[in-house]
């Protein structure tokens, strides 16, 4: 009974999160341009989407920036978290307080201040500055995800490994890293998500020729171009397929393990 209620609640929350996405998918098949009116079923926006080179470029930019930013900030964040964990408490606290500044700041301030920095340094705004700005706001989230895991680990195994002649690097990669893996993965996913979802910081830190999907959506004048709905629906379908594949694979693995 309790399990039933748990499940029901869980699915209701999921429905809440997915309701607007279902709406998006439905309206991507709307033949009318405006979301204010249902004009009948049509795939015209999908056809247009594939001929829209700026939208395709934006998709590629979004994915590359998100993946690169997530990978780089996960690496830097994890290493920093480990180093901070080994530092004195006072040093760590000071560093952490500064680390959290980007989290405390509104996006627009982070965005504008980074733009000021880049123009001050005479950087040309473009892909690199976009990437750097994304890495900047992702790192704190990685540190925040990884650091708590480090407090929870058992150091004796690590020390035993050192006693048995492992180098610190091996000991870290074989013992500590697997232990904190859930934290690293959640930091990575968080970075990926924040990067894909960001508009304000991206807007200020990119230049001519480099646009991500958010910028494209926000700069569309007549509200929203339905090609965006089509694009999102396709992305959504891709994510769902990926999840299904993961699911099938893990089922498969489980069965093999049982044998």
């Amino acid at each position: 009974m309790k399990k039933f209620f748990s499940k029901a609640y869980f699915y209701i929350v999921l429905l809440f999160l997915y309701l607007p996405i279902l709406t998006l998918v439905i309206f991507s098949f709307n033949s009318a341009k405006s979301r204010g009116r249902w004009g009948g079923f049509s795939t015209v926006w999908y056809q247009r989407l594939f001929h829209n080179s700026s939208m395709m470029d934006a998709l590629v930019t979004t994915v590359i920036v998100a993946l690169l930013a997530a990978v780089i900030s996960t690496v830097i964040g994890t290493i920093s978290a480990i180093a901070l964990h080994n530092s004195s408490e006072k040093f760590r606290k000071t560093m952490l307080n500064i680390t959290y500044i980007p989290m405390m700041n509104s996006d627009i301030v982070t965005g504008v201040s980074l733009m000021m920095l880049f123009t001050f340094l005479r950087f040309r705004l473009g892909f690199t500055t976009l990437l750097i700005s994304h890495i900047t706001f992702c790192i704190p989230y990685v540190i925040l995800s990884v650091l708590p895991k480090l407090y929870g680990i058992n150091r004796s195994v690590y020390e035993a490994a050192l006693d048995l002649g492992a180098t610190p690097l091996t000991a870290y990669s074989k013992i500590i890293i697997p232990d904190i893996m859930p934290g690293i993965i959640s930091g990575f996913l968080m970075s990926l998500t924040l990067s894909i979802d960001d508009f304000v910081i991206s807007f200020f830190n990119t230049g001519a020729g480099v646009q991500n999907i958010s910028i494209l959506v926000y700069s569309s004048k007549t509200g929203v171009n339905p090609e965006n709905y089509a694009l999102s629906s396709l992305m959504f379908a891709a994510v769902i397929i990926l999840l299904l594949v993961m699911n099938l694979r893990s089922n498969h693995d489980q069965r093999r393990n049982v044998k």
Binding site: G36, F118, T129, T206, K221, T222
Partner: protein, 346 residues
């Protein structure tokens, strides 16, 4: 986990290759325009005609965001299409360069009515692209007003019925006009009066929107909205219950024109592009697609009679009484202050 890492790197490499796959000996022309303000096939036509130029087309949602981006430096655009008062500001701040009209022979197609405006009195910096007016889009089934004035928006009988614009110049301008002042007033007393009037209008306001107002009007969310003529034309095409009125107490009349910023990297190609945009066929395509009014004499001739008679091309009398926004220079701060005061009190 390792497999995931390998998969990830493959995806990354593949994507970066596809991103950098462009042909490097083509010149890239960066065009920065309002969103949904062009027939995009025109860009393909241009590239077909000039195969050595690749257009990188980007869009912005309003003059001010474009300005912020431009002012920040760090990126260079070759062609911009801002509105009149913004062009005056860009000229004033020395951000634009003079055009070489020898490269833009099609400039002769532009109606003289749209030349020599106060933002560019000597016609040195800009080539008009589109024009329009500010007015009231209304739902015929819900509003039966004989004579629309700006005061209609403030009439107590229209409780929760009006979508105002979340735009400083338009909102303050129309309120000043409703008080009988100039839309470009810089008198602190008049602006404060306008602010008070806007605060008192609160019960009438169903929302303060930007472009999302179009979808709301099409869906029948509100009986009235302040809107530009071109956007109104689009809304009416989607929902025939709607109609557009130009307030009889006078309105704003604007021109968006093509300019080249100082730091443009390909000035000649930019002029080539501007000239192409002024070809009759191109101008006609754009005018038909976006619903704003064309200053191009050749394209105007080709338009359907119905369009020529519609509010998109109002009588000269209306246009003569209409005001163009002027660049406020050092009074910009006063406007900003009044506007911040206003939105803080909502």
């Amino acid at each position: 986990m390792k497999k995931l890492a390998i998969l990830l790197s493959i995806v990354l490499v593949a994507l970066s290759l596809s991103a950098c796959g462009g042909n490097s000996d083509r010149i890239t022309l960066n065009v920065y325009n309002w969103g949904e303000y062009i027939d995009e096939s025109v860009l393909d036509d241009f590239e077909a005609k000039y195969p050595n130029i690749k257009i990188n087309y980007e869009t912005y949602a309003d003059n001010e965001t474009m300005y912020t981006k431009l002012k920040g430096g760090g990126s260079s655009y070759d062609v911009l299409i801002p509105s009149d008062y913004m062009i005056a500001r860009l000229i004033d701040e020395d951000l634009l360069q003079k055009l070489n009209f020898d490269n833009i022979p099609n400039y002769s197609y532009i109606d003289d009515k749209y030349k020599g405006w106060s933002y560019d009195p000597e016609n040195e910096y800009s080539v008009p692209y589109m024009w329009g007016t500010l007015g009231i889009l209304y739902d015929k089934t819900k509003v039966s007003e004989k004579d629309f004035t700006w005061n209609t928006l403030f009439d107590p009988k229209y409780e929760r019925s009006v979508l105002m614009k979340n735009d400083m110049r338009d909102t303050l301008g129309l309120t000043l006009k409703s008080l009988g002042y100039s839309m470009n007033s810089t008198s602190e007393k008049e602006l404060k009066e306008a602010k008070e009037k806007l605060i008192a209008q609160k019960p009438n306001v169903a929302g303060r929107v930007n472009d999302e107002g179009m979808d709301k009007m099409i869906a029948g969310e509100a009986p009235m909205a302040v809107m530009y003529s071109g956007d109104a034309a689009y809304c009416i095409s989607e929902n025939p219950d709607l109609d557009f009125a130009i307030p009889s107490d006078g309105t704003n009349y604007f021109v968006d024109a093509m300019v080249i910023p100082k730091n443009a990297e390909h000035k000649e190609e930019a002029e080539l592009f501007i000239n192409f945009m002024c070809e009759t066929e191109t101008a006609l395509k754009n005018a038909l697609e976006i619903g704003y009014s064309t200053p191009h004499t050749g394209a105007y001739e080709e338009l359907p009679e119905k369009t020529k008679k519609s509010f998109q091309y109002p009588d000269d009398a209306i246009l003569e009484s209409a005001e163009v926004y002027s660049y406020l220079k050092d009074k910009t701060d006063l406007y900003d202050k009044i506007w911040t005061d206003f939105i803080a009190s909502i």
